[in-house]
């Protein structure tokens, strides 16, 4: 289990002729939480999208379990959960329908499991209310319900604490820590002051940016 899940070697990414990061190398080991830090516009989301496989505009190597990721694409996709800024929640569908559709491509789950996951994020009683009638925080919670039933070993979470109340933030922190103890790997970007024991950091935009 000590073999890294995902390794980045000499990643370099340029966006609109601005160098976001270069010579960026790190390993994501099972059982760890890693926080990507940096001011706005330093490429946190871009880095996460590159790692998730959504953005191919980079140079450098990404290794999945020690082999180039492109060779193991199916295995990588099956074993990675990505939650972005836009969480994939359809405003016209109910939380239950949304969650069912999002899980449908990943693995078989019963509606009971889905309802329990929604209840676990505090959405009990809202299962059949269209998401557009829910608050921003509640809509985020629909997406976060996936974390309660996800079996993917690698989680890539972008701004996961946005629009979540204090109680919810604590619950997510506990969930991430528990996940790491169970052997999962978590990568988060956040401006929230996340402090977990043994947390790794990837700091972007530190000194390498030439402001002019």
């Amino acid at each position: 289990m000590s073999e890294p899940l995902l390794q980045a070697v000499n990643l370099e990414c340029e966006r609109d002729t601005r160098l976001l990061f270069h010579n960026l190398s790190f390993s994501i080991l099972p059982g760890t939480v890693t926080r990507v830090e940096g001011p706005n516009g330093t490429g946190k989301t871009t880095l996460l999208r590159i790692l998730a496989g959504l953005n191919d505009a980079f140079s450098g190597d990404l290794l999945w379990c020690g082999e180039p990721r492109s060779h193991l694409r199916e295995s990588f996709l099956r074993n990675t959960l990505y939650l972005g800024h836009r969480p994939g929640i359809k405003p016209l569908l109910t939380p239950l329908e949304n969650l069912r559709a999002l899980m449908a491509g990943r693995r078989r789950v019963t509606d009971d499991t889905l309802s329990q996951a929604l209840a676990g994020t505090g959405l009990a009683g809202f299962e059949h209310v269209p998401c557009r009638n829910l608050s921003a925080g509640q809509q985020r919670r629909v997406a976060l319900a996936r974390l309660l039933i996800a079996d993917e070993p690698l989680w890539l979470l972008d701004e996961v604490f946005t629009a979540i109340d204090a109680g919810g933030v604590k619950a997510i922190e506990a969930l991430l820590q528990q996940r790491a103890q169970e052997g999962g790997a978590v990568l988060v970007t956040t401006h929230h002051d996340l402090q977990l024991p043994g947390m790794q950091r990837i700091i972007l935009g530190g000194g390498e940016r030439d402001d002019n």
Binding site: M1, E3, L5, P30, A52, G53, L54, N55, D56, A57, C65, L72, E74, S75, L77, R78, N79, T80, Y82, G84, H85, R86, P87, G88, I89, K90, P91, L92, L93, E97, R100, A101, L102, A104, G105, R106, R107, R108, P130, D151, E152, P153, G183
Partner: protein, 241 residues
Amino acid sequence: MTTDVRPGLKPVESGVGLFPAMAAVFMRDVRVAFRQRQDLLNPLLFFIMVVTLFPLGVSPEVEFLRQSGAGILWVAALLSVLLSLDHLFRHDFDDGTLEQLVLQPQPLFALVLAKTVAHWILTGLPLVVLTPILGIMVHLDGNSIAILCLTLLIGTPVLSLIGSIGAALTLGLRSAGVLLSLLIIPLYIPVLIFGTGTVAAASEGSPVAGYLALMGAFLVLALTLAPFASAAALRISLSNS
């Protein structure tokens, strides 16, 4: 394909099969469409309006309508499919569903195909169903109407499939509408020519099997190639967003 499974990793086979995943994508699109019925009605109303305005604007002569009726219906159907194309991926792109779709372990072209089939059933198929009524309105005879319906039945899926490439390519752009039309209309022209040509041949009493075979070839070609092109275009559009 992976055969060796490392400790802690889920084997690819433990996920969902291709067909259930495609069915889920299809069902979600259908469900969303029925919750937003005005989007469903828009292309249909456009189709009906164009066809009804032609006799008023050009000529209500029976002879003129009988001659150009099939053409009018085909052009109206083509434009109405074109109108609906921008919605094919746009909402999914805006709410992040598309990102999740691309990251599903199943091949993307198959999921895109499921979305395109849903698009056809929600926009193209209703046009085919309405065609007999509008055909009577433009004084087409029974045989011509039957052939017209058949060409639209083969032709509208081609329009959806080709259109999905354009919709995927123009996804990241702010003013996608104009570019989408410019990209797609030239590719629609052969379908239009053979679609109306079939009906013209039928009304002259010539055999139409050859025309229909060619239309069928268009459909097979679009069905096998367009989903790959759309999937690749989607990846590019998402990569740049």
